[in-house]
């Protein structure tokens, strides 16, 4: 690496091409994220933005971060988003009609204002600053450089952040966990409940055809007084009008002739 490369203010042409190719795509995706109705589409557009950002990281001599960006963001975080979208309902479309007075105008104004002001301030702040580049810092390799810093100078923040991650995991569990509404019922409680509900027979429903002349599914069982028990046949059969009446199968002294006549 030469000194000239270190103090150059320009990046390589290849990088320029890539940038000018990708930057509009990124911006368009971001804008689209705002405009599409469905949340799933937003998520997909965001994923696109993140992937292009990962490429920008790599272009900026941060290959480690670029990879991490893809793994963590596009891989893990976006996956989480999609899972939640699945829980909430994939096709839950967002109405884009604004309900808060002046929110849209002011919001756009503020966003444009912040963007414009930031660009203005940043461009003022950079006048005449040379590009140093990371050739020196990445001399032993980008991952090694970062590892040296993380496990050296930044080891304490790193530990703190790891604690934060664990806490966040616990927090998510606590938040998403739903306590049962009441204690789980045991067998005794269940049977007591069943006995108290007098409309339900304690020992299960009677089967069809019991004490009747016929034991088909459409023949109701007969109660001791000879009346049919409606509970013994499925509601569906009753609704379709296929229910047989007890009288349909009256006991008739049949003779052999009769049988044969049939």
């Amino acid at each position: 690496m030469n000194i000239a490369a270190i103090i150059q203010n320009q990046t390589s042409h290849a990088e320029s091409v890539l940038f000018y190719l990708l930057a509009p795509i990124t911006v368009i995706c971001a804008v689209g994220m705002l405009l599409v109705k469905k949340a799933v589409h937003s998520a997909l557009l965001l994923a696109a933005v993140m992937i292009s950002l990962a490429i920008f990281y790599i272009l900026n001599e941060a290959p480690f971060l670029g990879i991490v960006q893809i793994i963590v963001y596009t891989g893990a975080v976006m996956m989480l988003f999609l899972f939640i979208l699945m829980l909430v309902g994939v096709d839950s479309a967002d109405s884009l009609v604004e309900t808060i007075k002046a929110q849209r105008i002011l919001g756009i104004f503020a966003a444009v204002g912040v963007g414009g002001l930031l660009i203005a301030l940043v461009s003022k702040g950079n006048l005449g600053r040379p590009l140093v580049g990371l050739q020196m810092a990445n001399g032993d390799g980008n991952v090694q450089g970062i590892a040296r810093l993380i496990f050296g100078q930044y080891v304490w923040p790193f530990e703190v952040v790891s604690a934060l991650l664990i806490t966040a995991a616990l927090g998510a569990m606590v938040l998403a966990h739903r306590e049962p509404d009441s204690d789980k019922k045991n067998q005794r409680a269940l049977s007591e409940e069943r006995v108290r509900q007098s409309s339900q027979p304690v020992a299960g429903l009677p089967g069809p055809g019991t004490f009747a002349r016929h034991n088909a599914v459409d023949i109701p069982a007969l109660l001791p007084d000879g009346t049919p028990a409606d509970l013994s046949v499925s509601d569906v059969i009753g609704a379709r009008g296929h229910l047989a009446k007890p009288g349909d199968f009256k006991f008739i002294e049949t003779t052999d002739e009769d049988r044969e006549g049939k």
């Binding site: 929110q103 503020a110 203005a120």
Partner: protein, 635 residues
């Protein structure tokens, strides 16, 4: 004048004071003998006073005064006031009057108050009064005097309101106290002026300061006016006279002791004591004379219209004190005569009040003279003593009042110039009216026909009441002659009040002429009264078809109406307005700030829509503002 010391002066005050405290603190246990203790205390004080008089007479004129230093009372920087007692010729007159007449009235009260369940308390208050009054006349400085001054005001308040279960009596007591307080303002101011001008508030220090000429005449006139204001309040002089009539709400012995013989004359004492101020403050002195002259006539006119025997006597007291104040305003010549009239008045007026009390005692506490009549036969002793007092007050020789009043009229005429003639005529006119209304009182009470209520069974009072009356009437016969014979009192007092003025002023009229005029005036007054009240029967209720002037006189010359409309009503209005303003404006301003904050908060609260996005928008707008600021600064 170097004064001797005496270690016994303090007992004069201490005995009644401790007796009073003892009676009050001991509670009901002493109900049976409380009155005896009280009387004994007063009598002991009188004995000490006689003992002191005896010692005093043993010394020669210039060094008769004695002092007793008790302790340093207040000492702040140059403001030093010692609790020191001073007994000189002027004080001793008062001390003897207070303790002497006071003791007699104590004795009288034993019987008069015998049916009152609070008799012990009554005697405690009487003793408190005696102690305070003695402190008033014995203090060697204006501030010591002030303590006694307010002390007698307190005792007077307590005794006027003794039967305060009656709301009107309680109001009368309050009125007396407040009127006295107005006077006290004057005394306070006098002390302040004295301190600032002379660096001392003792009589001696002030006198020396004036002698050294360390005060301007403006200051002296102001001090004189302040002292006069004090005297006016205490002695019920115009324009603070209104309380005295109402003060008759108190038990009659109180009226006799406090509101006739002693306390109300404190103003005369104060002016006489401050002669060194007035001698150098002609304007203030003139004011004194004017106040005296007005009150003299004022009281007399009211006296003519009153049917209440005590109020008639009260009006008479006011008028007589007017005489005394007028006399003190006449300069060195007048002090001694004022004192003489004060002393004789103490005897005859106290006697007459006790007589009135005796009449009321016999008439079921009836005070309306129109319900009296023909009492001379059933109450001979009362009639006799009252009659002697009557003769004394109207100035019939050789009774006491003749000597003293005659001297005042004479001095008034001799005041010089037109002032002398006017004052002389006023005093003569006063004498006419005095004779008239006193004769009216006599006629309505003791002569004429019976106009008693059916329930009344008038009877003579018991001996405990008559003996003090008899003794006082003896005093009203003899004192005038004793005091004036050879100018005895004048010479006795001369070292105190008349140190520098021995030249005799020119006489406008010869003494004999003045006496003749005075007697003529008395005769005119008596004859009018007899013509009006002696011949015909007096209606049992006051006639209503009278002239507007009589009505005004019956309403105390509108004094209460005046006070009510000029001071009380506006005062009440101010009070109400201030109470309103305090709630609405002063407190309202603060509450208003609070209410405004609340309202502002209520309005601002509406910006809190609860939409997270609104908050986010505000944050971002804030960011825009900050960035703009940065941009503007870096441009």
């Amino acid at each position: 004048m170097s004064l001797g010391t005496s270690s016994t002066l303090v007992y004069l005050i201490a005995i009644p004071l401790f007796s009073s405290a003892f009676l009050l603190l001991a509670g009901r246990a002493l109900d049976r003998i409380g009155h005896l203790i009280g009387t004994a205390a007063s009598a002991s004080s009188f004995i000490v006073a006689l003992f002191e008089l005896n010692k005093m007479l043993g010394r020669d004129g210039e060094s008769r005064g004695v002092t007793q230093h008790l302790f340093t009372w207040i000492n702040v920087g140059s403001f030093q006031v010692d609790a020191t007692l001073l007994l000189d010729q002027l004080s001793i007159c008062f001390v003897l009057l207070i303790t002497g007449v006071g003791t007699l009235i104590h004795i009288y009260s034993i019987s008069y108050m015998s049916h009152d369940i609070d008799r012990r308390r009554f005697f405690a208050f009487l003793n408190l009064f005696i102690a305070a009054m003695l402190l008033l006349v014995l203090g060697n400085s204006y501030l010591n005097l002030y303590v006694g001054w307010e002390g007698v005001g307190l005792a007077s308040y307590l005794l006027i309101g003794f039967w305060n279960q009656k709301p009107t009596y309680a109001t009368a007591a309050k009125k007396a106290f407040v009127a006295n307080r107005v006077g006290d303002v004057g005394l306070s101011l006098a002390v302040m002026i004295a301190f600032v001008q002379f660096g001392s508030v003792t009589f001696e220090g002030v006198a020396k300061g004036i002698e050294a000429g360390s005060a301007s005449s403006t200051a002296l006139n102001a001090m004189g006016a302040a002292i006069l204001l004090a005297a006016v309040g205490k002695s019920a002089q115009f324009p603070l006279q209104a309380w005295l009539g109402d003060a008759m709400a108190g038990p009659t012995p109180v009226s006799a002791l406090i509101h006739a013989a002693t306390m109300v004359t404190a103003g005369v004492y104060l002016i006489s004591r401050s002669h060194f101020v007035f001698d150098n403050a002609p304007t203030a002195q003139l004011l004194v004379v004017i106040v005296g002259a007005i009150t003299l006539l004022f009281g007399a006119v009211i006296g003519m219209a009153k049917d209440d025997i005590k109020k008639a006597l009260a009006a008479s007291t006011m008028s007589q004190i007017g005489y005394m104040i007028l006399a003190t305003g006449l300069g060195p010549a007048g002090y001694a005569f004022a004192m003489m009239h004060l002393l004789t008045h103490g005897f005859f007026k106290a006697g007459m009040f006790l007589g009135a009390g005796s009449v009321m005692h016999g008439m079921n506490d009836e005070v309306d003279m129109r319900k009296y009549g023909a009492l001379r036969k059933v109450m001979p002793i009362t009639f006799a003593t009252f009659g002697l007092g009557y003769l004394a007050i109207i100035g019939v020789p050789p009774f006491a009042g003749f000597y003293s009043k005659d001297k005042i009229i004479e001095t008034a005429f001799n005041a010089g110039g037109s002032k002398g003639i006017i004052l002389g005529c006023i005093t003569l006119l006063g004498a006419v009216i005095t004779a008239f209304y006193m004769t009216r009182v006599m006629l309505m009470t003791f002569f004429g026909t019976k106009r008693w209520d059916s329930a009344a069974h008038p009877h003579e009072s018991p001996w405990l009441m008559t003996i003090p009356m008899i003794l006082l009437s003896i005093g009203s016969i003899t004192t005038g002659f004793i005091f004036s014979n050879g100018d005895r009192l004048k010479n006795f007092l001369a070292p105190v009040v008349d140190q520098h003025h021995h030249e005799h002023e020119a006489e406008l009229l010869a003494p004999m002429v003045v006496s003749g005029l005075a007697l003529l005036a008395v005769a005119i007054g008596i004859s009018i009264a007899i013509a009006k009240y002696g011949r015909k029967t007096i209606p049992a209720s006051a006639p209503t078809d009278v002239t507007i002037w009589t009505k005004i006189a019956r309403r105390d010359l509108l004094q209460d109406d005046f006070n009510e409309n000029v001071f009380m009503r506006p005062g009440q209005s101010i009070t109400r307005v201030l109470a309103y303003l305090d709630k609405r404006v002063v407190d309202g301003a603060v509450s208003g700030v609070g209410a405004m904050t609340l309202r502002l908060a209520g309005d601002l609260r509406k910006t809190q829509t609860g939409y997270v996005r609104s908050y986010a928008l505000l944050i971002l707008l804030g960011t825009v503002a900050v960035l703009t600021a940065i941009l503007v600064v870096t441009l």
